[in-house]
Symmetry: C2
Amino acid sequence: MGRLYIALLHHPVLDREGRVITSAVTNADIHDIARSAKTYGVKRFFIVTPIADQADLVRAIIGHWTSGAGGALNPSRREALEALEVAGSLEEVLEAIAREESGPVRTVVTGARLGGSCVSHGQLREILENGNGPTLFIFGTGWGLAGEIIESSRYRLEPIYGTGTYNHLSVRSAVAITLDRVVGRKDSRVRK
Amino acid sequence: MGRLYIALLHHPVLDREGRVITSAVTNADIHDIARSAKTYGVKRFFIVTPIADQADLVRAIIGHWTSGAGGALNPSRREALEALEVAGSLEEVLEAIAREESGPVRTVVTGARLGGSCVSHGQLREILENGNGPTLFIFGTGWGLAGEIIESSRYRLEPIYGTGTYNHLSVRSAVAITLDRVVGRKDSRVRK
């Protein structure tokens, strides 16, 4: 399996009416997703926002927890936030990955309402296990990724369902479950 | 499988030095865990705090999103928060469950640092599939559940590991992954 990357997009995403907006960065997203990424061996987690003030805010949070007072107090949080980076757009993320990797980037969009030709979590696990190039998981905030992001991606991952039809997880929970299903230990669901 | 319940304890839990404390209720915990609970068919999610002001705060949040303005604006959040309840202690939670259920409650403690005789997620799935009484998952905030809670529980669930040794997930992510592993669809990890 090649290296894994995550991008959390704050633009272009949808609002509840389906309009393209830029959403605000959320502190809980930064910490929760950084910790899940570290748990599942993700190489880098990009927070994507085109708003300079928001990008500065994220950099200040990273600084506090990596080189600042927070890191000394809480080493496990420092470890998680060391893999965090800010980017202005998905293109910038792809350029950053291309600088470190030789092959093409396998892009995977996620979303609670994705339709069309989706791969299941099990199928994606197989694709990753049988390949060795880098993979970028793209998650949206607000009411999900804009159509242009979905259409430009190599794979669409099927929405997460639990036991029924309700699928309104937070993006933090969706990232955790997605990573566990696609790259988690295979035996975690069966008797050992 | 019998009905499922979740309790999120704010007391007695540990601080970073291992002292027993009462932690503050977090808004992201309420919403994220309520949405995960609804996704995986959990009957009720109890926020447990002995502090009356904190309990009132949670009730105000529930009111806003169920009967107030928030519920009209965001029906999926209303659906999730309708299963939320406040309790003053774990004993109160067990009493509330006993009023609705006939058999004994199967208690399951969780934690990133649990040792001793733990059941795996796969083993717990089997136990639940072969039984029909109610099951209560107990999650801690702060630096984890106090020893008295762990010792009084019927089962200890093994800590969640991803691909390495880092296991510092947020409790919100841990609840999501636990539910997906123990009660999620079996085929979500294998090719369909």
